[in-house]
């Protein structure tokens, strides 16, 4: 059945084993701020797991060094050039040339921390360093999962994946039943950063693409797998844009507005999905997005806080602007499971369009508690970066920086649950 990658076997074989959002973000960064020096660093939110006890530093180094030897396969650069689902010619030649021939992953730093965690990160020109994220997450997750499975025989591993297959089957049956009952469900695999192993995400994407039609299983965030299984590569942007932009401008508000117009200058409507929660979605809706943009953009991605409240507030937001929310979309992507997906799709049916980016619970549900691991931009031009999000427990940044930005935003614990428009 499935074979756990052996010691020494490369976990990342292709630079396209990454999230699709890295490419549109990469192009905008390449065009607007390629040389801003940014630092990305890994954070293990599962603090009870002492990563340094699970992962051999030497082996992790070998894996990361291997990634640095890879060049983008030209055939896949061609596929990127030919990507037209988000508008024709979404990627420009200068950026494709940069990614294929000039992009160089900066040296990473790696050490054991005294608290048993790993300090892993990289500093370099933004257009280069931003590409590290998914490779680091995939490698660390795979090495961690492999260590958990160390004592198991091949047959016990087969049995673990047998159970995982049956859990996947249950999820599929629930989705099929919900769809048959008239609940409009469409979803994408967003597990690239989260999957237990690359082979397991590969298997899941293959299964979902065979079982569901295109308008139900929309695609995968994994570019390599999207090409392999002939489904759409899914993704737009992530917090790193808003986080770095904040320190590039004097004003938080100006920086955020600039990020939106920069995005608009790069891409067509297909990519107009706003990730609004970096400094809280209430702040975004009230101060950043203009009524014209609200009318033009396709919708929002919800990535923190209560998704039902987010949906209700989004509907009221559109209504307050005289926009019919039924013409707009919410992409839910925060810690989804199948029951939440069905509940949300059912709850908002006929009121606002919904789709789902399904990650950890889709491809890291094999009987072990998944790591909550992120690689985030933490500094730009020497200044500390901050993400607040709609759930303050997910805030990222130095406490003093977080407090400063909270004050600037007017963020308080109730802010994002009380509609202000």
């Amino acid at each position: 059945m499935f074979r756990i990658p052996k010691k020494g076997e490369p976990i990342i074989d292709s630079l396209f084993q990454t999230d699709f959002y890295k490419f549109p973000m990469g192009q905008m960064i390449y065009h607007k701020h390629p040389n801003t020096i940014v630092q990305y660093e890994m954070t293990n939110r599962s603090t009870e797991v002492l990563l340094a006890e699970h992962i051999d530093i030497g082996e992790l180094k070998e894996q990361l060094d291997h990634v640095m030897t890879l060049s983008p396969e030209n055939s896949k650069v061609k596929a990127l050039r030919g990507t037209n689902e988000y508008g024709n010619k979404m990627f420009e030649e200068d950026y494709l040339d940069f990614f294929e021939h000039k992009m160089k992953l900066p040296q990473y730093y790696l050490e054991k921390r005294k608290d048993g965690q790993l300090r892993l990160g990289s500093i370099g020109p933004w257009a280069d360093v931003m590409n590290w994220e998914i490779y680091m997450l995939t490698i660390v997750t795979s090495l961690y999962m492999r260590n958990l499975l160390k004592g198991y025989s091949q047959f016990e591993i087969d049995a673990i994946f047998a159970k995982a297959i049956l859990k996947l089957q249950e999820k599929i049956k629930k989705l099929q039943a919900a769809i048959a009952a008239g609940i409009p469900i469409s979803f994408s695999d967003f597990s690239t950063r989260r999957a237990a192993f690359p082979f397991w995400q590969d298997y899941i994407v293959e299964v979902l693409s065979e079982i569901f039609p295109d308008d139900v299983f929309r695609g995968t965030s994994n570019v390599f797998l999207a090409y392999k299984h002939n489904v759409m590569a899914m993704g737009t942007n992530a917090h790193e844009i808003m986080m770095v932009y904040r320190v590039l401008f004097d004003s938080l508000m100006v920086s955020q507005k600039q990020a939106l117009t920069d995005w608009e200058s790069e891409f067509g409507l297909g990519l107009y999905i706003a990730l609004s929660d970096t400094y809280s979605s209430d702040y975004f809706n009230q101060y950043i997005i203009t009524p014209e943009q609200a009318a033009t953009w396709k919708g929002f991605r919800q990535d923190s806080g209560d998704p039902f409240i987010f949906g209700e507030k989004t509907i009221r937001f559109y209504e307050s602007l005289g926009i019919d929310p039924r013409t707009k979309l919410i992409v839910f992507s925060d810690g989804l499971d199948v029951d939440t997906i069905i509940k949300l799709a059912s709850f908002f049916k006929g009121r606002i369009m919904t789709t789902f980016g399904w990650g950890t619970n889709l491809a890291n549900d094999i009987g072990f508690k998944p790591l909550s691991l992120v690689v985030k931009a933490i500094k730009a031009d020497g200044k500390g970066l901050v993400k607040l999000s709609d759930n303050i427990a997910k805030a990222i940044g130095k406490p003093t920086d977080i407090e400063k930005v909270k004050r600037e935003v007017g963020y308080h614990e109730k802010f994002f649950v009380t509609p202000t428009y």
Copy 2:
């Protein structure tokens, strides 16, 4: 995961995808009665399953024709030559030469019967025609199972085998717990004629050989898999010997005794396991096996009737001859499941040695009722063959022939459950 063989893909790729017992029996037949004309024919005991509705005759023909094009791989003939677990040089050069260079599977016959079953068999010199059995059973079973799975997606098939893996894991855990509790269990895979698919038996043999030591998982009846997974090829003889011998001699008793002495003239002690139930094991113990043979032979294979009663009677049989039953072995091989294996091993612990030949329930427990299919010798030199067995429901032969042999044996329904020694 597992891939069901596609239409047109050969199911039998090697003439060693057969039961090991075919080779010792083959050698004795080659030496003693190579040219006796014998007819082998398939019987589907699962009469409720109309095979002709499940299996395309043309495809079955293609598969059988393909088997007729195969030659024994010389490397595996060498392995046969080097087989020494049953005594050095168990196979003689003339027989090895025959099997490698001269043995020719006779033409088969195949047609739809009016009752919806398939008439499939072959007639020819015994030393040739006896080799058809396992290839026919494997092909028919695979085509039948493939038809059952026809409507399933690859993922549904994955889920079926995921469940089958978890069932296998349960069985393994039960065996391990029983062994840990001091119950002396050893067993072999006897599923060559019964496995759902060759790949599934392959997987199971691989798993068992990795999990259990040699003295627990003793080996497999499948010669090809024994070599592939480096375990012992298991098998001695089957009913066809006793059935054909009966019509080669005037007297039932003389023929059976001759079969035993012919066997002794061919092989060493390692193969001295008597399959006693062809005309009932009571008859065999009372009239066929001599006290000297009972003392010399390692033991019996139990293949029909109540295994607990068989064991009790075997113990009393040995005791009546002044032989310590604890030095003797029963190989149980009739429709075993894990609970029966554990019960029998526990029940006879310290009284007589036991081992188990585990077939259908080991390798055809994937959620569909397995076929009860046999290919048996039905005629020799134009005379109808009979097998009574310890369970008259398993009797084979024309009713008039069965009645005749029953009278000759003195078989009545109670005969084999009432000890007569």
